[in-house]
């Protein structure tokens, strides 16, 4: 396919880039009201007036420096891939900070279109922006948008097409810094003219003055003399301002941004504190904030447990009422393997997993997650992390895979490793199915909650250990706090569906197949062979029925499968007749800790490498069986 135009979306975190991307491409890039969702660039195609347009969604960044992984991804893309147009998405409620980034894009000389997003929210806050004036000052088209409603998004593309066809001279940057800086940028540009560099000239000169380590290394490799010249010029600037050159340039950019804002923005202070502010005061309160947070968390678990149990029962009754109670190999295989596998999976999918994704989507879209990061920052320090780690850890309740990837919002390698390790210990929706669907439904909700509490204690202890033995300290949190917003029902359902779809497509057939396989093995007595081989661990050490052995192996593929297959392997849907309460608790406990599923292991390898992924996996296997055996002995004494 011929691509007519490549358009990259760039801007600060949490300004609506992914929303615009989804509106344009119809794809389901995950969006939500917290900074740092998009960690990798996403690509989509749009057909606009017979033109094939490639849209690239870049991670949100505040600066084109190298502080974080996302910044490197975004800047490498813009500087080296040369998209035809960069659409700079700008948050109208925080124009000054956003323009700081716009100015850097202008330094790069990229053909720019400004999408002035969130104009509706800005209006509510009493902010009005003169777009025409802004357009003139920046020498780039400005389009006001409300991305969540799709307003203005197609005008962006019209402008982008126009902008791409304009002469390069039309993109001329007319933003200048103080004369003492400009003359030195010019001097350095002259030094650089003879040098072959892949980056834009003015931008390279500025980056060299700032002492950007990557650019300095790249240029310095072949042209150490340029670096010497840059250092002298940077020294002169810092001599004048009595500050390091990099902060001088940042201050200068902010001074320009402030000047522009002063010209284009009018602000009318609201008389009453907004609802959002009042909600902030409650949800971030030193006491009420914590009470609210724990109430929300416990209510979610309680609701999930009750709803899931209720729903599973309905489905089960529905199907079992049609049970023909046939005997013989093929009918048994069909019913106990196929049909039971199908409905048990459906119960799990629609009773537990989908509702959970809806709740998670609500929390994400409302902007509550960053509040948790704020509240939990201090407690996180005891396990060597800072508050931002709470966001991937909470996402891990949905699925560990995106959580591991989401840990990229942690700034240092050490913090990332700790956060990733702990994420894999968070009971994901699949494990929640086993905990709530087995222990919660058949032993009691209080025991299910106790399992969670135990898991949190385990996470805390492992965090402490890692913190102790890994060198270094956490850098501390620096995070933008987004305002609350009314979550959009369409966004939440779409998002939940996007997360849920892979489960239906890959997990459902796999589990049914596994169920049929186990039934076949049970009918042919192969299952007992496998089970007997594993019985030293399952029966002797963990005190579980022999048939559970195979489930631990299958559970590596999909953890939610272990509940469904448990029924198949036990040969009955009434688990109570096959397992004692203690056995159920021990089984759920081991499933909860024992090994990340295969998809999580793959994510671990990708994020941390083979060695660390192996370390996490084997530690957790050992830990699970060790704790499981202890729990069996302890619980037998108690219950």
């Amino acid at each position: 396919m011929k691509v007519d135009l490549v358009v990259a979306l760039a801007g600060n975190a949490n300004v609506g880039k992914s929303s615009i991307f989804n509106q344009l491409t119809g794809l389901g890039q995950i969006i939500g009201n917290w900074p740092g969702k998009t960690v990798e660039k996403a690509e989509g195609v749009l057909l606009h007036h017979d033109k094939h347009i490639n849209i690239i969604d870049l991670p949100g960044i505040y600066s084109l420096s190298t502080y974080s992984q996302e910044e490197i991804v975004s800047r490498e893309y813009i500087a080296l891939q040369h998209p035809d147009v960069v659409v700079n998405v700008v948050d109208a409620t925080a124009l000054e900070r956003n323009l700081f980034f716009t100015l850097q894009l202008l330094e790069m000389g990229a053909p720019l279109v400004i999408a002035l997003n969130l104009v509706d929210v800005a209006k509510k806050k009493g902010i009005t922006i003169d777009e025409k004036k802004l357009q003139k000052l920046l020498n780039a088209p400005v389009v006001p948008t409300i991305a969540t409603k799709g307003i203005g998004v197609h005008e962006i593309i019209d402008e982008a097409i126009d902008q791409a066809t304009r002469q390069a001279s039309a993109h001329k940057n007319n933003i200048y810094y103080g004369p003492e800086i400009e003359t030195r940028i010019k001097k350095l540009e002259r030094v650089l003219t003879g040098v072959h560099i892949i980056y834009p000239l003015r931008w390279t000169a500025i980056k060299l003055l700032e002492g950007d380590s990557e650019i300095v290394n790249k240029v310095g490799e072949k042209h150490p003399d340029v670096i010497v010249a840059a250092n002298i010029l940077a020294g002169e600037i810092s001599e004048i301002h009595k500050e390091p050159c990099s902060t001088v340039i940042s201050s200068e950019r902010y001074a320009v941004a402030a000047r522009i804002v002063k010209e284009v923005q009018t602000f009318k202070e609201l008389e009453k504190p907004s609802i959002g502010e009042r909600l902030d005061a409650l949800s971030m309160h030193g006491i009420w904030g914590y009470i609210l947070m724990f109430t929300i968390m416990i209510s979610i678990l309680m609701f999930m447990s009750l709803f899931g149990g209720w729903f599973s029962e309905i489905i089960q009754n529905l199907f079992e009422s049609a049970n023909p109670h046939l005997t013989g190999f093929w009918p048994s295989l069909f019913w106990n393997g196929g049909v039971v596998g199908l409905y048990a999976t459906l119960a799990v999918a629609f009773g537990f997993i989908l509702p959970f994704y809806l709740i998670l989507g609500f929390l994400e879209d409302s902007g509550y997650l960053p509040k948790i990061a704020y509240l939990m920052d201090r407690p996180c320090h005891t396990i060597g992390l800072h508050g931002k780690a709470c966001i991937p850890l909470l996402l891990a309740f949905g699925c560990n895979v995106p959580a591991c990837v989401g840990c990229r919002i942690m700034e240092t390698k050490r913090d990332r490793f700790i956060a990733i390790f702990l994420s894999t210990l968070v009971p994901c929706s699949a494990r929640t199915v086993v905990i709530l669907g087995l222990v919660g439904a058949y032993v009691g909700v209080q025991w299910a909650l106790l399992l969670y509490v135990f898991d949190f204690i385990l996470i805390f202890l492992i965090g402490r250990l890692l913190n102790r033995f890994l060198p270094g300290v956490s850098v501390g949190i620096i995070m933008e706090m987004p305002s609350y917003r009314v979550p959009s029902a369409t966004v939440i359902t779409k998002q939940a569906w996007n997360r849920f779809k892979p489960f239906l497509i890959t997990a459902l057939p796999l589990i049914i197949l596994g169920s049929i396989l186990i039934e076949a093995m049970r009918l042919t007595d192969v299952l007992s062979l496998v089970s007997n081989a594993l019985s030293p661990v399952t029966v002797v050490w963990l005190g579980l029925p022999a048939f559970t052995g195979f489930l631990f192996i299958f559970g590596v593929l999909r953890k939610e499968a272990s509940l469904v297959l448990l029924m198949t392997a036990a040969g009955t849907v009434d688990i109570r007749s096959a397992m004692s309460p203690v056995q159920m608790i021990v089984f759920a406990l081991v499933i909860m800790i024992y090994v990340p599923c295969i998809a999580t292991i793959a994510a671990l390898v990708r994020e941390t490498g083979w060695k660390r992924a192996g370390f996490i996996t084997f530690t957790e296997i050992g830990l699970a069986f060790f704790i499981g055996g202890l729990a069996f002995r302890l619980l037998n004494m108690l219950m």
Binding site: Y62, S63, S65, Y67, T93, A94, L95, E96, R97, F100, S238, K242, E243, P244, S246, T247, S250, S251, Y254, A258, A281, M284, G286, I287, P370, A373, Y374, L375, D377, R378, H386, G387, V475, G476, I477, I478, M479, E480, M481, S483
Partner: protein
């Protein structure tokens, strides 16, 4: 009353004073192992010098002048602790007492030289923050690279941003430390001279939320303690 005693009192009040800035006579007496009567007498003397506000039965609070003097002593004390620990490798348990004695004879010039030699430490060996100096500098690099001690004294009172009260407005004067975090703060708009206001503080040494350039930022305590501001 010798200067040394006054300084000990100032430090004790600074350490003990609670959220409202008041310290009780009995607490001070216990801390300094003095009789309550002599403590009250000392408070009266210090009141005459304009260092404290004192009314019997109400406890004692530091005045701006007293606060400044107390901070200065704290700074000297903790710098000395770092010196005794890092350079002289004395046992940790002895350094506090030694620093207590040395701090009173340390001149300002020596204090600055000590800070430079130790490369501008931010915390004492026990983990308490070292208050900033009162030189007209914008950050530590500038001071560390300066050869002579030609820097002028600051005439403004500066405090860590974490010492602001909710709703207080202030201007950034100085960010301690360097490297990535400082550049990050700059990128987010916390450049020198920027107006900020404190929105809220999380309990038990948690992070703070500030408003800067129209947006809200959450900053961890450790980083925030290195941002110094001048109240407006």
């Amino acid at each position: 009353m010798p200067q040394e005693h006054i300084e000990e009192y100032l430090e004790a009040i600074y350490d003990i004073a609670g959220k409202d800035g008041t310290a009780k006579t009995s607490e001070i007496a216990e801390r300094l192992k003095n009789a309550p009567a002599s403590v009250t007498e000392a408070f009266q003397r210090m009141k005459q010098k304009g260092l404290v506000r004192y009314e019997s039965h109400k406890g004692v609070t530091l005045t701006a002048k007293g606060y400044k003097a107390a901070i200065k002593m704290k700074r000297k004390h903790r710098l000395l602790e770092v010196f005794l620990d890092k350079m002289l490798h004395l046992p940790r348990e002895n350094i506090h007492e030694q620093a207590c004695k040395m701090e009173h004879v340390l001149t300002d010039e020596t204090e600055i030289a000590l800070c430079k030699t130790l490369k501008g430490p931010t915390e004492c060996p026990h983990g308490s923050p070292i208050p900033p100096c009162n030189l007209e500098v914008k950050n530590c690099q500038e001071c560390l690279s300066e050869q002579s001690l030609s820097l002028e004294k600051r005439d403004k009172d500066i405090i860590a941003i974490t010492s602001l009260k909710t709703g207080d407005k202030a201007k950034i004067v100085f960010v301690r430390g360097g490297g990535g975090v400082m550049q990050r703060l700059c990128d987010l708009g916390l450049t020198n001279g920027t107006e900020v206001s404190l929105v809220r503080t999380a309990p038990i040494h948690g992070p703070i939320e500030i408003r800067v350039r129209g947006c809200k930022l959450v900053i961890g305590r450790g980083i925030a303690e290195k941002i110094f501001v001048h109240k407006t």
